[in-house]
Amino acid sequence: MGKRILKKFFFSCVTIVFVVAFNFFLFRIMPGDVETIIARATTTEAVKQRLIEKAGLHRPLLEQFWIYMKDLLTGDFGEAFNSYDGSSNVLTVIMGRIPNTVILLFCAELFAIIAGLIIGVICAQKRTTKLDTGLLSGSLVLYSMPTFWFAMLLIFLFCATLHIFPTGGIFTPGRHYYGMAKILDYLKHMILPMLCMGILMMGCYAITMRSTMINILTEDYINTAKAKGFSTRYILFHHAIPNAMIPMATIIALNLAAILGGAIQLETLFSWQGLGQLMYDALNRRDYPMLQGCFFISAVAMILANFLTDVLYGFIDPRIRE
């Protein structure tokens, strides 16, 4: 167990170093060198000189890489070309955006897992009935739908036509709520993006849960439990569902990259001030330091999440432990 975790940890570290190197060299091999891009992005000579000095662009490449690594380790992600949320320090801006993204994704993921689990179990129980076919084909359609397009449909339906939810943002502009009212305002703005992402991911979880449950329900130990006279409900909750959680954990881990991609599209559409919208803004302003910072943070988050799921596996599935 310990050895396995250590090995995974080592590999994760190597991957992060790869990402750092990749991030560094990618932005230096792009058409036109960094200096001209800085010159294009900023107007004043003083700012330009400061940025060149800061990035150490007058030094040899390897030395630059060394400085870049050292800066990253000390938490210095550099200065962005533009200012966001009143700051142009890359790390400060990113850190300010992370809570919004994490809250949104966590709620959406929770919704998707619970809803997908319930639908999957119902499908497996009522297998080959009309209800099963209907739910399954619905899940398949949701699964192949582009995230942002579904969001556009929801905005059209709920914001523009029915006027139930606000079209975007985090708080109602021009109003200053305090305490509970502020939280409620936040939640009101979050419902639509959360539902959008949750419903789309739900399809994938429902399909996985269904096929796993169908496999499990034909296992010998389920028959044994039935023979012992346990109720269907007891078998479901104590024998079948816990065992179905292992493939679910795999799918959840595999989905993380897709969720991050979805977050960029959704946050842009709903102007939800999170990491995704920040990346979109940085992209459209060709703000390379900010883009670099966002990419690094999201890559590290992915690597970390993968590492944690690998470790968690050992606890969920005793067979891996040996």
């Binding site: 990618l26 192949s144 942002f148 397009w149 556009m152 599209q265 979109y280 990419f295 999201s298 988050a301």
Partner: protein, 300 residues
């Protein structure tokens, strides 16, 4: 001697034709595949001939405001967009670029994935180790941020988008092909070739590759649909080629001009439906081909 060679060649060709005919028959008999083929054929014809029938210029602009965002009418069957252009013409012309990007990116993905998968699986040892670490690295990277960064650096041209999608998408394919190569490698005829003294390159090219090909083929068709979806997402985020409109750039236009809140549903619903239909068509075809070409999968 020469005569015999050409005989076997002719026989082989005849066999190939028979196999292809048989395959076509099986595809047509499969309900899923039939629906997929019909959808894909429809959009392919639209992409080839549509732009000739309905010319479309990205630079055309409406003479006055009253031509903008017109709902569907007899003159404009699917209404007009933010610049007063015909949405149907936009859609038809977008299909060409969407399909070109989807197919070309798939070629890059499949060639890279197969090359890496086969060599990794067959050569093994440290080559396998290094190649698989690189694959893992690409698998673990968040794909959309990765695509965005690459596309931002390379610039917005249709060829760069193809390159980006191809370069970021091969890792899953490489894994699948490697697994298949490993099982083919254990077959007796490969061992026999080794004992006869065949070179590694020869075995890989002449014996392993033809045997993993059915898998490559069905994988490729599934990749087309994901490539088209990726292109749509990238174009939606503003990374599309403005001179070569696709369904993604169309959705980007709709988003930029707030078509949703204005209520111009004809402008943003139609390209989305097209994307989903094409993706669905290729997915159905892919799954059906997988069933037909890899019968062993059915047992699993």
């Amino acid at each position: 001697m020469k005569q015999r060679y050409s005989d076997t060649d002719a026989l082989r060709r005849k066999l190939a034709v028979m196999k292809t005919k048989d395959f076509m028959k099986q595809v047509w008999a499969n309900k899923m595949a039939r629906v997929g083929v019909i959808i894909v054929a429809f959009f392919t014809l639209m992409a080839i001939f549509g732009p000739i029938v309905m010319p479309f210029r990205t630079t055309t602009m409406a003479a006055s405001r009253e031509f903008i965002f017109n709902p569907p009418s007899w003159e404009h069957v699917l209404g007009t967009d933010n610049l007063g252009r015909d949405v149907l013409a936009y859609l038809v012309n977008g299909s060409r670029n969407s399909l070109i990007v989807g197919l070309s990116a798939t070629v890059i993905t499949i060639v890279l994935g197969t090359l890496i998968g086969v060599s990794s699986g067959y050569i093994g040892g440290w080559v396998d180790n290094i190649l698989m670490r690189i694959t893992d690295f690409f698998l673990v990277l968040p794909w959309l941020p990765f695509c965005m960064v690459l596309a931002a650096i390379l610039g917005n041209s249709i060829w760069n988008i193809i390159l980006v999608i191809g370069l970021t998408g091969w890792s899953g394919t490489a894994r699948v092909i490697r697994a298949q190569t490993l099982s083919v490698k254990e077959q007796q005829y490969v061992e026999r070739m080794v004992s006869v003294g065949a070179k590694k390159g020869h075995i890989m090219w002449k014996h392993i590759l033809p045997n993993v090909f059915p898998l490559v083929f069905s994988e490729a068709i599934l990749i087309v649909s994901s490539s088209i979806l990726t292109e749509t997402s990238l174009a939606f985020l503003g990374l599309g080629d403005p001179t070569n409109p696709s369904w993604g750039t169309m959705l980007n236009d709709a988003f930029d001009t707030d078509a949703m809140t204005i209520g111009a549903w004809w402008f943003f619903i139609t390209p989305g439906v097209c994307v989903i239909l094409v993706a669905l068509g290729f997915t159905l075809m892919g799954y059906a081909f997988d069933e037909i070409l890899n019968p062993k999968l059915k047992e699993r």
